[in-house]
Symmetry: C2
């Protein structure tokens, strides 16, 4: 028997590999299936999340500067901890490097890792550095902390809850498309042309190359005394994340197309590239914005918070997960996300 991985897809594969794993340790509060694992060692809750970044899959060193890569590798993990309503405190970094990298190149990578640690106040507490045959491999594990009652899972959304996202969506994806396009056409161009192609698009590029985790939003919600009922970060795409929340919470949702926060610069680039900006917003990944649901009674407290957008509400499970178009048409939400194993 040899079943190709792509027949299962990423989530199917994870489910197959990790299902029926017994949790024996009393300290395991939440295992596989959320942004981070949650543990209880007698004090505050300990949160742990890990990400593996592989050259040629998650990043392309032709156009990703090493410093940005180091920064992003950390930030995507911090984002998972914030998405649990926790505070990231430490990271450990595993690094596999081939002989083609110089010490100075790794200094650059680490300057990005250090910058992220500085910016978010986390400690680089350990790691593992080894040689690789080819390519760069970065594994970052982030440890965080939260009070017992603070942790927000994916499974707490309930009927009539507001669905909110932060920032804007699809922008990081369009930044990637721009980078990919210019890379592909670099061969026939002069150096000056590339810069011209990116002029006015610096924001889109920064969204792809140097994303930030929404610590500000987690803090603002805490200050406003809003406890989200469910929360995730948008790494695979809004549709995919929303379907996770609805599945785990046993509910449906209605999301309004005209409520999706879209950056005007992103909209312009989408048009130029013949991409549907709504599709980008629903399925483009790597925005690292927060998607959360909260009680409708929190509405008044929510409104003053900058950069939070209400895009819909939670419904009964039997209502399904729907996108409501500009003319009232209803379309089922589909996860297209980053199913990297599918062709």
């Amino acid at each position: 028997m040899a079943t190709e991985i792509k027949t299962l897809g990423e989530f199917g594969l994870i489910k197959r590999l990790t299902s029926n794993m017994p949790m024996r340790q009393k300290s395991t509060v939440k295992g596989v299936g959320d942004d981070a694992a949650v543990m209880d060692f007698g004090g505050k809750r300990t949160l742990v999340t890990t990400d593996l970044l592989l050259e040629g899959i998650h990043f392309n060193l032709e156009y990703v500067p090493l410093k940005h890569l180091g920064y992003k590798a950390v930030v995507v993990n911090l984002s998972d901890i914030y998405a649990m309503n926790g505070t990231p405190t430490q990271i450990v970094v595993g690094l596999g490097v081939s002989a083609r990298f110089s010490v100075e190149a790794l200094d650059e990578l680490y300057s990005g890792i250090r910058l992220a640690c500085d910016t978010y106040g986390v400690d680089l507490a350990g790691g593992d550095t080894c040689a690789s045959l080819n390519g760069l491999t970065i594994s970052v594990t982030c440890i965080g902390v939260a009070d017992k009652d603070e942790v927000v899972y994916r499974n707490g959304a309930k009927k009539n809850d507001l669905i909110c996202v932060t920032g804007n969506l699809g922008t990081a994806y369009l930044g990637l498309q721009l980078l990919e396009r210019e890379r592909l056409s670099l061969s026939g161009q002069k150096a000056g042309d590339e810069i011209e192609a990116f002029r006015g698009r610096e924001y889109l590029l920064s969204r792809q190359l140097k994303p930030e985790a929404r610590r500000d939003i987690v803090e603002a919600l805490r200050e406003a005394r809003i406890r989200p009922t469910a929360m995730m970060d948008v790494s695979d795409g809004l549709s995919s994340e929303l379907l996770h929340i609805c599945h785990d919470s046993g509910c449906g949702c209605a999301v309004y197309e005209d409520k999706l926060p879209i950056n005007f610069e992103a909209a312009g680039v989408a048009e130029e590239m013949n991409l549907n900006i709504v599709t980008c917003a629903l399925n483009g990944g790597e925005d690292y914005e927060l998607l959360f649901t909260c009680d409708i009674n929190d509405y008044e407290k929510l409104i003053p918070i900058d950069d939070v957008y209400i895009i819909g509400h939670i419904t009964e499970k039997s209502d399904g997960c729907l996108l409501i178009g500009r003319n009232g048409e209803q379309l089922p939400l589909r996860a297209q996300g980053w199913e990297a194993f599918k062709e």
Copy 2:
């Protein structure tokens, strides 16, 4: 500037990349520089360690069965937690797999991961699975726990402490040599010949392919009320680990050649392969035995514990780190270990 990594070596590189990292979080008890990072979230100490395993560097799938690989990937991390005198409780696993792996192959890998979790009572609590361009990448992070006063670091050894190791040394290295030799000569052989070459060497192979972490020793020491003053697991080789302990503890050591625990089967294979068994015992890695120091007053309590061998004692720093030969000759200990970046 382009400095080749091999000019620094693994430890030099880690030092360069991670030096002067400020520890800002009050919860960070111990950062880079021990078997695991140590955190304090208000209850017990949280321990975190991570390892990155890359195909072609850390394992060769020509002769390493996937189930064994999964088992070993977990065990080497558990070993780091035991080496802090802690109890491993959870793991998170990052997996990068190329299209050449079938779902069934990953089932095999995970059956090994599950077996290790079963055997040591730890929970698989999360992870990250993604596609890779080529090769298999496994990142395992292990979380553990210890009472505040239980944690054993590398820096507590003091003059006259006994130096102890468990099990035997160099055996995993010789197992690897056997596997490498047979692999290299497979082309001209019939299938039956390989099995013949391994007959009677099953123990050596198992030491390389399916190592165990010394939970039993950590438990036995605890029962005997012996608290090691310093402890590490032997992953890079005895010399390398002992030099770490002496460096961090600010002391020297005297280790006796004739006290090194050597397996007779390993000695036979070393002779057959023209390898010096003492060199193998001092510098062969991957035994995952425990190296620890303890107060000389614990001698009586130590003797009844199975599979623990006293190989020397801690001296003044000015005495240096010495191997005392069978005829009393003194040789400085050198770390040859796995300096993977050196040629």
